[in-house]
Every structure is written in C-alpha cells, then in structure tokens.
Symmetry: C2
Subunit: 204 residues, 2 copies
C-alpha cells in the first residue's frame, strides 16, 4: 500500500505473512493423534503427523507417555500455536473421565512451553475442512489428503489432528482479515494468539 | 538381626526406615488440593498443604495453573511418591470431562519428574483414615488434624489431599511388612514404588 506519512514522505507498507507452525491434537486415552502444518498466507505445508499409542493398563503411565511424546514433538518443531478438539458431549462419565485425562496431558505438554491453545468443536472442524458440519470421517480424511497434497491418506487419528490444525489455520486467517470491530466478538486470548503477523516498512 | 555370614563373621543387619515425602492430590477443575507429609517408620509429619484455585473461564489456562503450581510444589519438596484419588463414578459426562482434565494435569506435573503415582478410591482413603468406608467428610478432616497433630483443621480440599497422602503412607507401610508371597497380589509398579527401604550392614 502506497501512502504519504506525516513528514510527506512516500512509504510502502508491505504485509509479509509470517510462517506459523500449527500443531493439531486429537487426544484419546488409547490413541492420541498429532499433526503439524506450516501456514504462510494462503499456503499450507504438511510437516509431520503421527499416532501415540499408550496400550492398556493403569492410566498414569499412559498419561506420562502422551505428555512426554507430545513434549518431544513440541520441542522438536517449536510450534507457534496449538489447536485441539473441544468435547461437549461425551458418551458416558467413564469414557469422559479417560478422555479428559488424555486431553489434560496433551494440553499441559503444550502449555508447559507457553504455546497458546485454541479449541474447536468437531462440527467447526468438519465445516472448515469439508464445508459441512456433519460430514463423514472418511470425507475429512480425503480432504486432509487433498488440502495438504499428500501421497497417502494418514491414519484416522493423525488425519483428525491434521484436520484440527487446518481448521485453526483457516480460522486464524479469516480472523486476521476481519475488521477489529468484527473480531472483538472473539475471546481476547484467541485473538492474541493468532495476531503475530509483522509489517515491514520501506521508505522511498 | 544377628546372624553369621558365609565367612563365619557375625553381622548385624539394621533395618533403618528411610524418610519418604509423600504428596497427596485431590484434583478438581476449580480447586485442586495438595498435601505433603513425611513418613518415617511409624512417624508421620506434616509438611505443607494448600489449595490451587483456578477461577472460571476457558479450561486450558486453568490446566496450566494446576500443572505449573503442582510442578513448583514438586520441585520445592522433591516428593518420593504421589497418591491421588481414583474416580470411578463421576456424576455426569460434563463434570467427568472437567475433572479428568484437572486430574491429567496434576498427574503429568508429577510424572514429568518421574515420581511414581498410586491411586486409591474414596472408600479406601476413608477406610484408612477413619476406619469406615462411608465416613463423613468432616470426620476425615478431623482425623487428618488429629493424625498430623495440627493446630487448625485444613481447608476441605487440602484436608482431602492430606488424607490421600496418609492413606498411601499407611498402605505402603502395611505392604512393606507383608511377606513377598502375599504382596505378589499387588501390581509390580505399586510395589516397585513403595520398596525403597535400604538396609545398612555393620560387620563386627
């Protein structure tokens, strides 16, 4: 954008989209999927995805596996932001308790490194990826493969994690393009987390 | 114990009970109680207790508070073992999910420092402290005050955490006194966690 500043000099303000690494997590007490993408303006790039399998037995050692594995991923890639599914309707108290603990372990592994966390409902993720809130799981997997230009379809949990990361990349892009007045509807911590685009100025 | 070794020398094997610091945690998404005691043979000593209040709002920052505060307590006291209540029957899926996440955060803060975790049901804790599985909360609070020789009754959540720590101290003492054949009924990780009593040998 060309405009004159206070001293009458012509300045060009270039908006250079910063590269942001986004970590998506789909937690579970048996299997926790994770996926990393790089978002830069309109470009999305696949980095890594995987599934952390905890096996059976008592829950504390399984939570330790989730925590340490996610911590390792976080320390390797240093993601800028993390996105996770927000569960509102659990099937029953027992599975909710197990899922909750796995979710707590994953969130703590990320927040221990002071990385901001955003939450999305399953419908928000599907809407962002497939354009339909009640899309089938296979459709989400297919779209993840297409959007990230992958050769093979990732495993279910890893694909879900990548879908959450893609949903966040899409949402943060939209929110950054919104006027400040419109974005004031969003919570401050979410806005704070996604506003990191620096502007470089060149004076002629 | 006096006995002759292979070379015919008289040896005295003294069993010196080691001091163990036990951390008890009563997790909750709004309030998480913690209590630390020192167990040495039959002696129990109060060290510290408190309540971590997380306030309202989105859960991830609250989990971060639980994780960081417990981590601070763990790094300050370096407890040898941790005990936590095992929840089997949650009221509803929503509260189970919240409780699960708080529990996951607390467990991860402890297991990140490689401290073994033991789990006890509410009935086991009450049985160990009051001698009755369905004792009232006030009875547990009173017995915690008596057993640890405290001047004032601790707050409800902190008292519950101390009760869990006392239950673990009691259980580990009993299990150490059991014959190996009898203790083989207990899981290996629990036995491994509680067997830390060193024997010092003096040769005459």
């Amino acid at each position: 954008m060309r405009r004159k500043n206070n001293k009458g000099k012509l300045t060009i303000s270039l908006s250079i989209p910063e590269k942001k690494i986004i970590l998506g997590i789909d937690p579970g007490s048996l299997k926790t999927g994770y996926g990393l993408i790089e978002s830069s303006g309109n470009r999305l790039r696949f980095l890594e995805c995987g599934t952390i399998k905890t096996g059976g037995g008592p829950l504390p050692p399984r939570l330790q596996i989730i925590f340490k594995d996610i911590q390792q991923v976080v320390r390797h890639w240093s993601p800028d932001e993390m996105a996770i599914e927000n569960v509102f309707l659990a099937r029953n108290p027992d599975s909710a308790l197990k899922l909750g603990q796995a979710r707590g372990a994953a969130i703590c592994a990320v927040m221990a490194e002071n990385i901001p966390v955003s939450e999305y409902t399953a419908n928000q993720v599907k809407q962002a990826i497939v354009g339909k809130g009640h899309a089938a799981k296979s459709q989400v997997q297919h779209m993840v493969k297409v959007l990230l230009n992958l050769n093979t379809t990732p495993q279910a949990d890893a694909a879900d994690a990548l879908a959450i990361a893609l949903c966040h990349a899409n949402t943060r892009k939209t929110m950054l393009e919104l006027k400040p007045s419109a974005s004031s509807r969003y919570p401050a911590e979410v806005l704070g987390a996604i506003r990191g685009r620096r502007k470089k100025r060149f004076t002629l």
